[in-house]
Symmetry: C2
Subunit: 256 residues, 2 copies
DNA sequence: CGTACCATTGAACCGAATCAAACGGGGTGG
DNA sequence: CCACCCCGTTTGATTCGGTTCAATGGTACG
């Protein structure tokens, strides 16, 4: 059952037998033959702290990453959709740094860590893997700033726009999408409560930015959402930039 | 002027001519001869987005990392003390992902990225560098959870305990330390306002947990602070764990 | 058809932000 | 040396966004 639609976005598409890619660079022979498994909603692909044994490109479905801090505080740190790869750990970590939980019954490939390492010898492939990791790190930083200094409406608008962008990258044309995650998950990701998320969604809908019913959601006014995200009203306030004393992209001397 | 006290904690001590280390593994010859520079308070070691050219082990002084999001939101993401290395970018990034600003006049070494790469060929050294990077990533995650789901007092207690731990690792014996960063910086890191930070410090002092005057600070009751951090009263409330639906270290099946 | 879970909505409360002074220390210039 | 100013900090009064507590409604599933 090779070549699911998500293969076309997969990190491994150039080295994977499952994916039929037109552009097949001469150097890269398709040496990867991943196995497939399905994970039931609520089950874990892997758990934080366990040794890294494999990575999991999603074929169909979605997942959340959950981090549990040393003191037992748990928080969702991200969502993954089909085409994303779960379990990629930066810095050659030997243990998973988060847990990955399926949001719905999910089909994925299983690429052993040995196979991954083997293919990492190929420079272009290695670069693309590292680029994905860097992108993930950037994502977490954006989330940090969002939670740390944006208001609830902005954070939620950010998430909706992000989900929409991802959905469109996967072929979604109109702005209608089905949220795989619960309000609680969204709230956890954004550092809010589920009530606030629910209220905010209703408010967005009442202002004509979106329409929601349960987990069916449609973006009606992307620009409006972007305006909320950027905090150009008409939601709440707080001005960007100009915070900590000396930190601006000023033109003081700097070594690099 | 080699071998500052901070050398004994430096990541590069085993390969650096400046550092006099007793245990000198046979394989690693001391081939690193870093140059030294001083950076004035408020100046940048390097700026986010610039190509990575060098890393900067701190000899004397301190710095803050500042991240600026695509939309212009700026936030402090961490503090570095003497012995720490600034500019280590994970995933072979070609540009700095944050800016590093000196909190005071700071002396540091300059290790070119080429020199770093050369030494990364040495497996034990490489592992220690990767370990530092992983530690930094973990730190940012803890910060994310702190900002996302802990209350102000807990966050501040966390920071104070962390600063104290770092200070003690550097030889500090009693709990007295001098904060190099402003209230604004602390507030930015913790996702609060400077007024809240100031008030909280006063409150901690009035309860006998610490004593503060301006930037002179002394920890009086570490256990008390730890209790505040862990949220065991006697400050505010909110119970840990048990958040997002299915995510607990339960014993559901998982692949790894 | 009943049960369980997720989502919505309302009312009251509270923590932290905001607005607004006053204070303190360190530096500069008279 | 002292007066003055600047900037970071402290403290107070007030507002407000988001949480908490609570009840109802909707949907899926056994």
């Amino acid at each position: 059952m090779p070549d699911s639609p998500s293969c076309s976005l997969c990190l491994f598409r150039h080295v994977c037998r499952d994916a039929s890619t037109a552009d097949l660079s001469p150097g890269a022979q398709k040496s990867l033959q991943p196995t497939h498994v399905t994970v039931a909603a609520g089950d874990a692909f892997y758990r934080q702290g366990r040794p890294v044994a494999a990575v999991f490109p999603l074929r169909e479905g979605s997942a959340k990453q959950v981090y549990e801090s040393p003191l037992g505080w748990r928080q969702v740190t991200g969502f993954s959709l089909s085409g994303d790869v779960l379990g990629l750990e930066p810095n050659e970590a030997s243990a998973y740094s988060v847990s990955a939980i399926a949001l719905q019954d999910t089909m994925c490939c299983v690429v052993s860590i040995e196979a991954l390492r083997t293919h990492m010898a190929d420079p272009p492939f290695r670069d693309s893997v590292l680029a994905v990791m860097r992108h993930q790190a950037e994502r977490e930083r954006i989330l940090l700033v969002a939670i740390g200094s944006m208001r609830a409406a902005q954070r939620l608008a950010m998430l909706l726009l992000d989900l929409d962008t991802e959905h469109r990258r996967r072929g979604g044309t109109d702005g209608s999408l089905t949220l795989a995650m619960s309000r609680t998950d969204i709230a956890s990701l954004l550092g809010l409560t589920l009530e606030t998320v629910s209220r905010l969604l209703s408010r967005f809908a009442s202002v004509g930015l979106i329409s929601v019913r349960q987990r069916r959601l449609r973006l009606i006014d992307r620009d409006g959402l972007a305006a909320v995200y950027a905090d150009l009203e008409p939601m709440p306030r707080q001005a960007p930039a100009a915070m900590a004393a000396h930190a601006g992209p000023g033109d003081e001397p700097h070594l690099f």
